[in-house]
């Protein structure tokens, strides 16, 4: 590797400046602001703030509403992650074996990813529309009177389906490229060593996909926790009422609709800590069991 010597010792810092500025303005500064606000009770109209210590946190933890949303968020995150990962993997393994017309087939599977979350939410909502939604019609065949936006479970179901649908192409791309990164000869050696297709998948393909799967696990959990905001927003239409929402949406509702800046800030700090713990856990305990080459 060639070492570049800068003529001035300050020059490298100058090059780093734009990136550092972006990180500072859009990450560190708001984080610090949020942590600070979380200890204050702010006047909704901006006429000053009172220091309240951990009251905002305690209030959040004590609220049964908050607990209910937290429980839903956990269920939502697990379901969306599990389903979008497994369906993405299933599609990738089948697409990998397609020989004729695999190009258009893969493109069709991938193009959903190009859709913006609110648009995906809108399209998803049309599927679940009370009057024209095909899913509602299909559910009616089985005697399921689906009422998205009114019934808690039905809304949660629609949310999860749309969120999973939106994330499948992303997982598909990564799993497919991961599969194609496994040398053909290794698969052939496995075909000679193991007669069972499923056995080969379990003992050779899956372990070699583990780095990809681990990466996707983190990405999908973050997606379920945060990036599904647009989908949820379209489904509950800004008025959560009795509908299920996730913690991120509650931060938004309390902060921007309820003007409870302090409470909202405390909740976002809690989320930040959850993500921190999750990341540490994933890297400490799961990555050890992953085989990198």
């Amino acid at each position: 590797m060639k070492r570049v010597q800068f003529s001035s010792p300050y020059l490298p810092y100058l090059f780093l400046l734009p990136q550092m500025t972006v990180v500072f303005i859009f990450f560190y500064w708001p984080s610090v602001q949020a942590i600070q606000s979380s200890f204050y009770l702010e006047d909704p109209f901006g006429f000053g703030a009172t220091f309240v210590g951990f009251d905002n946190y305690l209030e959040a933890f004590k609220s049964s509403h908050y607990q209910q949303i937290a429980r839903f968020t956990v269920v939502f995150t697990i379901l969306v992650t599990v389903f979008s990962l497994s369906i993405g993997l299933l599609l990738a393994t089948t697409a990998d074996t397609v020989i004729r017309g695999s190009g258009p087939y893969k493109t069709l599977l991938i193009c959903v990813y190009a859709i913006a979350p609110p648009v995906a939410g809108l399209i998803g909502m049309m599927f679940f529309d009370q009057h024209i939604g095909p899913f509602v019609t299909m559910a009616a065949w089985f005697g399921w009177d689906m009422k998205v936006g009114i019934d808690y479970v039905d809304t949660a179901f629609a949310m999860i389906v749309v969120a999973v649908w939106k994330q499948i192409p992303y997982n598909f791309i990564f799993f497919l490229s991961g599969l194609q990164g496994i040398p053909v000869s290794v698969r052939e050696a496995a075909a000679i060593d193991n007669r069972s297709r499923l056995g080969r998948f379990r003992t050779v393909t899956l372990p070699l996909l583990a780095p990809t799967a681990f990466f996707l696990l983190i990405i999908n959990m973050t997606y379920s926790l945060f990036d599904t905001f647009g989908i949820i927003d379209v489904i509950v239409k800004d008025k959560a009422a009795n509908n299920p929402i996730t913690l991120v949406y509650k931060v938004y509702m309390d902060g921007f609709r309820g003007n409870d800046i302090g409470g909202s800030a405390a909740q976002s700090v809690i989320l930040m800590l959850i993500v921190l713990l999750l990341t540490v856990f994933q890297f400490r305990f799961i990555e050890r069991r992953v085989h990198y080459n």
Binding site: V186, E188, A189, A191, I192, D193, N194, R195, V204, L208
Partner: protein, 350 residues
Amino acid sequence: MAQVTIENVSKSYAGDVRAVNSVSIAIEDGEFIVLVGPSGCGKSTLLRMVAGLESVTEGTIRIGERTVNEVEPAERDIAMVFQNYALYPHMTVRQNLAYGLKNRGTPKAEIDKRVAEASRILELDQYLDRKPRQLSGGQRQRVAMGRAIVREPAAFLFDEPLSNLDAKLRVQMRGEIKQLQRRLATTSIYVTHDQLEAMTMADRIVVLNGGHVEQIGTPLEVYRAPQSAFVASFIGSPAMNLIAARGEGGRLVIGDQTVTMNGAEVPNGPLTLGVRAEDMALASGNGDGHVEMAIDYVEELGASRLVHGRLTDERLALSLPSGAPLSDRLSITLDPHRLHLFDPDSGRRI
């Protein structure tokens, strides 16, 4: 252990590309067969058809008494060594060796016994708990061999197993594979593009060109009596000299010079004369039956020297003992018993 019979086997791909064209080889039990040929000659395709990794378009492949055309690779009772070793990167050496046995439901004690035996033979004992990435190329090659040995299959299939190794290691592994195969007496099919590997390892060589068999024979048969100009030029180093000549009234004429044939039949008309570098010598005595050769350059090889030059307009390489006298022009004799004549159109031996 078993014979492997390949009968009129062809392989066509979409678009009428014929990679293998009606190949028949009867491989004896315990025989070491080497398929050799330039890239694209169909040797690997043929091997992969025996392994079951490619479908057979036409013909029959039998391992032992069983026709295996439609049998899954895992059920053909073969083991394959791949060019890039194809070790399972997430498994230790021990797991790599045991994988094929485990999937066949071999008892644990038997697996342990065979893995221990194979790792002893291949000197892999101290690496059993390492992952393939922690091994050198030669060690990986041994693990790939070990994976085949522990299976105790009816046949070993080798797909250019040495081509990723450096030259020195290649010579060493060549000997080891050959010795191992002798000891185990397992029928083996070995694919290579290296004629030297073919010559040194094979019981019989199959020379393939453009999807068809040019010649099947022992290394010496193929070397001494090549059945076509292609085989003549492919087997042996330096390559056999192929010279445009013609038969005139029973005599062999090159340009304006005549070669003494000592009574051998020479048909009239254009011919290709094949002569190996070592089958020519400096002429002694008078000029009867000698041919004149102009020298271009000399390669000193230590034990011998390789003289490159022209016989009339034809390029020629000639092997002479080291220290033989040299000048710009040499008068040489061709060993009439070691001359090969080929039809210039079909390339077949006359």
